[in-house]
């Protein structure tokens, strides 16, 4: 078969089986993938990978057959990689005996086998399970200009936008193939041209917009295009400090899940907006103005998926994507103030915060005062993926509230702003 991509002699040899039949299928898949999007060549991956599939869900057994074939062929990622969070944590996210049985034996019956496969393929370590692999404590933090083979939409949009690395919105399995080959086809967000903005977003709100609603509005409007956001500096400044990076993490995840954004620029703030200014905006870019009314309209458009819309909430999830170290402290203070306001000492419902295992360890050791307060308030800390926890018929029936627009989009959970959810979680009812 004739291919349009220009291959090096080494790549040609791999395609012809010099490294075995399985490796030939790996490169063939990546060639077909690249050619679909006009890639002319492969480029080297320059930083460790991140895998989206973290769940050993029985129905995905064909995927685990591919990973087993890779292992049997002696293949491994070129560098230790991180992976999305695990789906279950019985100690901190309580399940009844029936749920536990179904999770362990039926739904996630392949979890142990799959994690063993990941270790053989080059998993970084036992703490590598997080969607926010780029956080300092986790350490899979690329540099500006690095070429990545990642999947997980919230991590890809963060790496591209906040760090200035280069990665396409890859599907699961494709990212693993790129990590094994050590190369990815060059197209779309790996090229200068396709990193230019096709939209100008003018933020004209009266106060700092809720990150998750702003991201949702942008994603729903621009879908997969690159937006250039103006007007945010007055609210979040021009420095990429911990607070601002946390804001951008949450906003970006909403752009990627409510739409399909892989890269955004924020005027005077994100690396390429600072470097190139408005030269990074396409001449024919469209304009979308976001004011208070528009944010309210977007928020009001979210459907309520609960069987009984007036029902009492069963569980509250905060931290999708996983919370940063700074956010854990901020939420502690926020809950402390709300408890005081409502004259209580403990939250009124099952409230769970999710963060990376490495961040949680650092938080327990480095900010014991805040950690102890959270425990005392009755708040649970875990490192699971709330999305994977909820993405099954059993949990889908629960009345879950969340401050995550990603979780809202993919599950039956109901979205509330940070202030609203804090008040509801303390009160125990809406």
């Amino acid at each position: 078969m004739e291919y349009k991509m220009i291959l090096t002699p080494e790549e040609e040899a791999i395609l012809n089986g010099s490294q075995g039949e399985t490796m030939a299928k790996v490169i063939k898949t990546l060639i077909l993938y690249g050619e679909t999007f006009g890639a002319k060549r492969f480029v080297d991956v320059t930083a460790p990978g991140h895998v989206v599939t973290s769940f050993g869900i029985s129905v995905m057994s064909p995927v685990f057959n591919i990973t087993q074939e890779l292992i049997d062929a002696g293949l491994k990622a070129k560098a230790p990689f991180t992976v999305d969070p695990r789906p279950i944590d019985y100690a901190n996210v309580k399940c009844n005996p029936i749920e536990k049985l179904i999770f362990s034996k039926i739904l996630y019956g392949e979890q142990a086998r799959y994690e063993a496969q990941l270790r053989k393929l080059g998993l970084k370590d036992q703490n590598a399970f997080t969607c926010a692999c780029y956080l300092d404590q986790v350490g899979n933090t690329p540099k500006k200009g690095d070429i990545l083979s990642w999947a997980e939409s919230s991590a890809v949009v963060y790496a591209n936008s906040v760090i200035g690395a280069r990665c396409n919105r890859n599907s699961g399995i494709i990212e693993l193939f790129g990590m094994i080959l050590g190369k990815v086809p060059e197209f779309d967000l790996l090229t200068d041209e396709d990193r230019k903005a096709k939209w100008i977003i003018e933020v004209k709100t009266s106060k700092k917009p809720e990150a998750q609603v702003l991201g949702s509005a942008i994603g729903l409007k621009v879908m997969e295009d690159v937006p250039y956001i103006k007007g945010l500096n007055q609210f979040i400044g021009t420095t990429l400090d911990d607070e601002t990076k946390s804001y951008l993490k949450d906003m970006g995840a909403a752009t990627a899940s409510n739409g399909a954004v892989g890269l955004y620029h924020v005027e005077n703030l994100t690396p390429e907006a600072v470097e190139f200014g408005e030269d990074i905006i396409n001449k024919d870019a469209k304009v979308y103005v976001i004011d208070d009314a528009e944010l309210e309209r977007v928020k009001a458009s979210y459907p309520v998926m609960w069987k009984d819309p007036n029902g009492k909430p069963d569980r509250c999830f905060i931290g999708c994507p996983h919370l940063t170290y700074a956010q854990l402290g901020e939420w502690t203070d926020k809950f402390e103030a709300e408890l005081k306001k409502q004259g209580k000492t403990k939250v009124g419902m099952n409230t769970i915060m999710t963060t990376a295992p490495d961040v949680l360890e650092a938080f327990k050791a480095g900010d014991k005062a805040h950690y102890d307060k959270l425990v005392k308030m009755g708040i649970h800390l875990t490192s699971i993926c709330p999305l994977m926890y909820m993405n099954n018929p059993l949990c889908g029936k629960k009345n879950v509230i969340t401050n995550s627009n990603k979780l809202r989009t993919y599950t039956t959970s109901r979205y509330y702003t940070n202030n609203e959810i804090c008040e509801i979680a303390v009160k125990g009812e809406i």
Partner: protein
Amino acid sequence: MAREFKGRPVIAGECKVEAVVSRQGFNTLASFQKSALAKKKETIVSDQNNSDLFGKNITGKALCLPQTIGSTTGGMVIYTATALNIHPRAMLFSEPIDSLAAAGVILSDVWTNDTITAIDNLGQEFLDYVQDGMQVEIKMDGTVIVG
């Protein structure tokens, strides 16, 4: 009256099958999830947000759509559906194929014994014209004859 549309074959193939149409983005994970989890022999679309397809059978049919949307697990979900033999026979995109759907049809082609014929760039007129239940004939060069 039959109408002819011309697209780009991403995975070339020939077949004559019944159309099932989504006018909005097809959320891959949400659509396949319930049937796959229940180990059904056919995919009955479980995405409650897609009023065009919710509750409809797409196995063995020509799924007509603008693009896919949703989680980056999308490609491997399409691959899994093919491996489990509950996949559509063809995916016909009015717009350029998205990276997740492309991954899914390519993984199906290279890593299973079956394929999903995939044609993209068929245009909005195609999506406006095609209706559920119409016969769709697909040719190797990306020609799609509807009706």
